[in-house]
Symmetry: C2
């Protein structure tokens, strides 16, 4: 049975009971030995999911704080950056960079599409001054996964820095930081990790750390060098969200038991189930190209004649299934089903069954279009 | 009976069982109505403790993130600021400002002393270019509370902006934001609020918001204007630490039941109990002037011939009492007892009894100096 309410938004995801229980543990001294052991263990285990030998640093912040850390630790005011955006979160990453005085060239796509590596190559060929490429791995606002490995290959050819927003991808879809040559990878606790929001994870490659040394950007709270120095002692530079560390520690143990390969296979399977199920209901996917369909979040076009707001309310009130609406210009035009972290076949089937039962009540006959 | 271990560090404080329970609640949609009600309620109740009619904004970050928010939302690079420091956290606030290009003039005191309002007046008389004064209300590293009301009076005479680190004071010792004319007040969830770490609270006065409008500092994650706009809709700009909001909601209800006056009286009482008890053991307080002795944390000089590290280990291992060591240049020279948030007579008595029992084992005869 799925946990109810069946929280099918793309984060926060439902959190398994044993991980929630860890959230309720009594406080400890965050500078003491027992907590140092957790900091150490969590840091080591995260490496196994980032597939990196580099430190993975844990910041007390949400994903957006992690993205800010990426910008202020690797870039300097005036640096030129190619920002690849396929949706709201790609735009956000560009905004953060612009806020900090980075000169951003946008490579923008129609929402619903994936970025094309050849466009990145073209852009880099025409602008040799670019220092870094920024890209969203999985665009939560549109349900599209960028071909990151291929994009990384191009960026490596040009020897640019590659900054990756992996917030809604890491731990759920394939990402190999070291093998692909990613220089800065960011994710957040409430996505693929089955943990409540409040922690962001960040890792820098050797090139990333070199960029850190050269960066003249002002930074204090999000200073990854300070985080690295503290983590080596089993600490964080500032008082961390201790409870979420407890939860993360339990979550990573569970994830290690399931195994990365199994986790990736499960996300691939439930992603396919959602897409097949949605299409079988006569609904249209927002991402038209199956190759780039996200295995962590699916965006579905608003069914003809159905108000998405009403559909979401009905699903929540009568079926205890919570789905997300559209963001920014997609508000009212799509709805989104999250299937990352805690997402198994029965959770997805429950969401699809509820959708099938709800749609006719709003005047949309699911079978009609089959 | 005190909760064991009796966590007597100056934050995180022990968290009462019903607040811990709230930490384990299942996730919800952070953009949904039930969570909006919590955001609204928490925001309103925080005002009653800040004693302000202004918005109190909740950031997912630790206190240091809140201090960074203070700097980047009210100042601009090149601004001149008078930074009043009586310890490690005063120095930290100055460092943050310097990091962001603020021209900082330090008004520094020997650690263990409080700032003198007349020195602030002198400094402001000699430097009319100063835009803002920054001050730590309660210096956690030394156990000293600054005479904030008097300092604020001086700052108001000169019509400068007053930025206050109230992290280990607010909700525990008197602070009246509006009445005293404080322009930016910051605190953190793990201090006077009996909540796990991970949230910082920030409030700006009307002058503070005017400074915000004029500020040219880069800011994104910590942008208080974005936080204010979102909070008006019962949201946060970025995914918040949902669980800690749940806990804060329960904590503020408890605090409202106890009542601000009672809470302040309790802190005043346990502060006195700690100081009297410590002196009765023949130990010396680090803060020599009783008028400025902190009612949230007491720093005690290392007893003659006793290694503070050994004392802390003994207290923790044999008595389940966790006290803090000294920070920075006070490392090894003092130890600190926290008595804020969840701190009642029996918690304090247990800590004092344990100290009395532990000291002789390390060769210090508590009665000798009586």
């Amino acid at each position: 049975m799925p946990l109810k309410p069946n929280l099918r938004i793309p984060g926060p995801t439902p959190v398994p009971p044993d991980i929630l229980e860890a959230m309720a543990r009594p406080m400890v001294n965050h500078r003491g030995k027992p907590f140092a052991e957790i900091v150490g263990r969590v840091g080591e285990r995260l490496k196994d999911f980032f597939l990196t030998k580099e430190d993975v640093l844990v910041l007390t912040a949400s994903g957006t704080g992690g993205l800010e850390a990426a910008v202020v630790n690797t870039l300097s005011p005036g640096d030129k950056v190619l920002s690849v955006s396929i949706g709201a979160f790609g735009d956000r990453l560009a905004s953060i960079a612009e806020t900090y005085g980075v000169e951003v060239t946008m490579l923008q796509y129609e929402w619903g599409q994936a970025a094309r590596p050849e466009d990145v190559r073209n852009a880099l060929e025409h602008d040799s001054d670019v220092k870094a490429v920024m890209v969203t791995h999985n665009e939560t606002s549109t349900g599209v996964t960028n071909p990151l490995e291929e994009i990384a290959k191009v960026v490596r050819e040009f020897d640019k820095l590659l900054i990756v927003d992996a917030i809604s991808s890491l731990g759920a879809v394939p990402l190999a930081m070291d093998e692909w040559g990613l220089d800065c990878v960011i994710t957040g606790s409430q996505k693929g990790w089955m943990v409540p929001p409040g922690l962001a994870f960040a890792s820098l490659s050797e090139r990333g750390w070199k960029a850190y040394e050269e960066s003249t950007m002002p930074r204090f709270y999000f200073d990854l060098g300070k985080a690295r120095d503290s983590q080596a002692k089993g600490q964080t530079p500032w008082t961390p969200a201790v409870s979420i560390f407890f939860a993360l520690d339990v979550a990573l143990e569970k994830m290690e038991k399931e195994g990365l390969e199994s986790i990736l296979a499960r996300h691939s399977r439930v992603g396919q189930t959602v897409r097949d199920g949605v299409r079988a209901l006569g609904l249209e996917l927002f991402c038209q190209d199956e190759r780039y369909a996200s295995n962590t979040v699916t965006a579905i076009k608003s069914p003809d004649g159905v108000d998405v707001g009403e559909l979401r309310t009905l699903l929540e009130d009568e079926y205890e299934v919570v789905v997300a609406g559209g963001q920014a210009k997609l508000s009212g035009k799509i709805f989104r089903i999250g299937h990352l972290g805690l997402a198994d076949d029965e959770d997805i089937q429950d969401a699809l069954d509820s959708l099938a039962a709800a749609l006719p009540k709003l005047g949309f006959a699911p079978s009609a279009a089959r």
